[in-house]
């Protein structure tokens, strides 16, 4: 059950896997947390958008290869996300936040079946693009090239996102809105548009994660439901509405899950929930969250 066969190569390998998974979770968590922080919407569709991102690779691969998917997928899904927000979610803002959450839950159920309808029930095995598959042998330990790529790519994207939120007007407005929505409205900024864009960005980020993870994880219809809980855990651990919280939370969860697969594999499914429970009971606002955001 518990295997403590932890040699240095194994540790390094799992650390790498953990960071790869972690950076993906960070991307998704940032998307989730800005939607949550600014719009107070608990977005259950985040998981299925991730799945759609992965499936977009399946469809587009034969026409364009892997790389364009990284751009086309997220843009397309960002637009779809904005469409969903504007038509279905927006009417519910005046109501109890429960309703928006339930709506996204219903949407997630629908979209998962849409995936089944379009691509079938069977999983699609996938593999990384040619020049990124294989390993780098560093004598002491080995690295999977593709996972390294994920870490590099996501980190770059993260830096770009940080820049966006800290330096660009739109980004700053979104960030400000998560702290003080009323003020943003009072300043005359069109809040509906901002919401739609935020939702689009969030969805696009989920899609990027989906595209990136597809070659490793493969694609299968319930993959959205599988990942959404991990995303929520990251957001909770990091703190809802916090950028750096999502970063730390994502990396932490990624590493913990990777190690649990290695050390105590039977538990790896549930470790995420145990973590969630501990954090929620002990310090619900997480590492860097805003206190009482959703009480």
């Amino acid at each position: 059950m518990i295997s403590l066969n932890l040699s240095l190569p194994t540790i390094m390998n799992q650390l790498l896997n953990g960071f790869a998974l972690g950076t993906l979770l960070v991307l998704m968590a940032i998307g989730l947390t800005i939607i949550l922080g600014l719009m107070r919407v608990i977005n259950f569709t985040h998981g299925v958008i991730y799945a759609l991102g992965a499936y977009s690779v399946v469809t587009l691969f034969n026409y364009t290869g892997f790389w364009p998917c990284l751009i086309i997928g997220p843009i397309l899904l960002g637009l779809i996300g904005m469409g969903m927000e504007a038509t279905l979610i927006r009417p519910l803002y005046k109501r109890d936040p429960l309703h928006t959450m339930l709506l996204t839950f219903g949407l997630a159920l629908m979209i998962e079946d849409i995936i089944r309808m379009t691509w079938g029930d069977a999983p699609y095995p996938m593999s990384p693009p040619e020049f990124l598959s294989g390993i780098i042998d560093l004598k002491l330990f080995i690295f999977s090239k593709y996972r390294l790529f994920i870490i590099v790519f996501c980190s770059a994207l993260l830096i770009a996102l940080w820049f966006f939120f800290q330096k660009t007007p739109m980004g700053k407005t979104i960030l400000a809105g998560t702290f003080d929505r009323e003020m943003v409205i009072a300043l005359g900024i069109p809040i509906n548009l901002l919401f739609t864009i935020t939702f689009g960005i969030g969805s696009a980020l989920a899609a990027v994660a989906g595209v990136l993870n597809a070659p490793i994880q493969g694609v299968y219809p319930p993959m959205g439901t599988g990942i959404i809980m991990s995303c929520f855990v990251v957001v909770i651990i990091g703190g809802m509405g916090s950028f750096w919280g999502a970063v730390i939370g994502g990396l932490l969860v990624g590493v913990v899950v990777s190690f649990s697969v290695e050390v105590f594999s039977a538990m790896s499914d549930v470790i995420v929930f145990i973590l969630m429970a501990i954090v929620l009971l002990v310090r619900p606002r997480g590492i860097a969250g805003i206190e009482g955001l959703l009480e």
Partner: protein, 304 residues
């Protein structure tokens, strides 16, 4: 309400006219009990739990394990199942009731998933992914006479007894002082606290009672299928009962019953024609949230 009971009593006879069968009728009533409990929590107290399926499944599994391995008679097995399910609700409730809103909901999911995990992995006790087969449903001896439950129709009336009891209990609860306090908490928790009620305690009681309903429904479900499997515990299953509550009408007496009936029927009906029932149920759910958030019964009530 008498009309309701009369209607439900003859339901197995009517249901074939709309393409149903006794087994479906049984399922509808079982989930009605489950939904009634859930509605107490969300519709009357204003607390969302996405983890009620945990008590549902736990009770079913417990009864199954006890009856199969220790040859315990059915009624006693049910009681043990319900007790264990309720105990879980008590423990988890005590642990998490301090938290509110989304934190609370997430915690219910987390614990629900832990149970799901235990059910899936503890193969020796629960049968793992394959589930637990062979839950008995023979005869129960009630002193004077034996009641053979093997037959679907007679089992329906067995379930019916619990349904009547559950509905009456719920009615009594919501009309009582306890129910009024719950509604107060739903409307404005802080104000209820300020006026002097021990909000936390009321919420805890509501949570536990809801768990009891879930546990009862769970044991009945286990007996109905004669089999129980891990998926009865996961958060998507809990989501189903949320859908039933909303579609039927939260915070009303008949709403959850209606909702459970409609949703169960639809799931069954749609599965007959397409395997993509999730799509349609999701779509119906969305339509209701957008246009009929008060559910069928809530809508009807408004019209009056």
């Amino acid at each position: 309400m008498v009309i309701l009971f009369a209607l439900v009593a003859v339901w197995p006879k009517i249901i074939p006219f709309i393409g149903g069968y006794t087994g479906l009728a049984i399922e509808m009533v079982i989930f009605a009990i489950f939904a009634l409990g859930f509605d107490l929590l969300l519709g009357y107290t204003g607390i969302l739990s996405f983890g009620q399926a945990a008590y549902f499944g736990l009770a079913a599994y417990t009864m199954g394990i006890v009856c199969i391995n220790f040859k315990v008679p059915i009624l006693l097995g049910m009681l043990i199942g319900i007790l264990i399910g309720t105990l879980a609700a008590v423990i988890i409730g005590l642990l998490i009731i301090r938290k509110t809103g989304i934190y609370f909901a997430m915690l219910t999911i987390a614990f629900g998933q832990m149970f799901f995990f235990i059910a899936s992995r503890w193969k020796s006790v629960t049968g793992g992914e394959d589930g637990l087969t062979g839950i008995p449903r023979d005869s129960i001896s009630l002193g004077l006479f034996n009641w053979n439950l093997k037959n679907d129709l007679s089992f329906f009336y067995f379930v019916f007894v619990f349904f009547v009891a559950a509905t009456l209990f719920k009615y009594w609860l919501v009309e009582s002082h306890f129910g009024q306090v719950l509604k107060t908490i739903r409307e404005n928790e802080k104000r209820a606290q300020v006026v002097g009620y021990n909000v936390r305690r009321y919420k805890l009681y509501s949570f536990i009672i809801s768990g009891v309903f879930a546990a009862v429904a769970g044991t009945l479900y286990g007996m109905f299928l004669r089999y129980i499997f891990p998926q009865t515990l996961d958060w998507v299953r809990s989501g189903n009962v949320v859908i039933m509550g909303l579609v039927g009408g939260l915070g009303t007496l008949f709403g959850p019953i209606l909702g459970a009936g409609v949703v169960t029927y639809l799931m069954n009906f749609i599965s007959y024609y397409t395997k993509y029932w999730q799509f349609f149920v999701g779509a119906i759910f969305i339509i209701f949230i957008l246009f009929f958030p008060r559910g069928i019964w809530g809508f009807v009530q408004k019209k009056r």
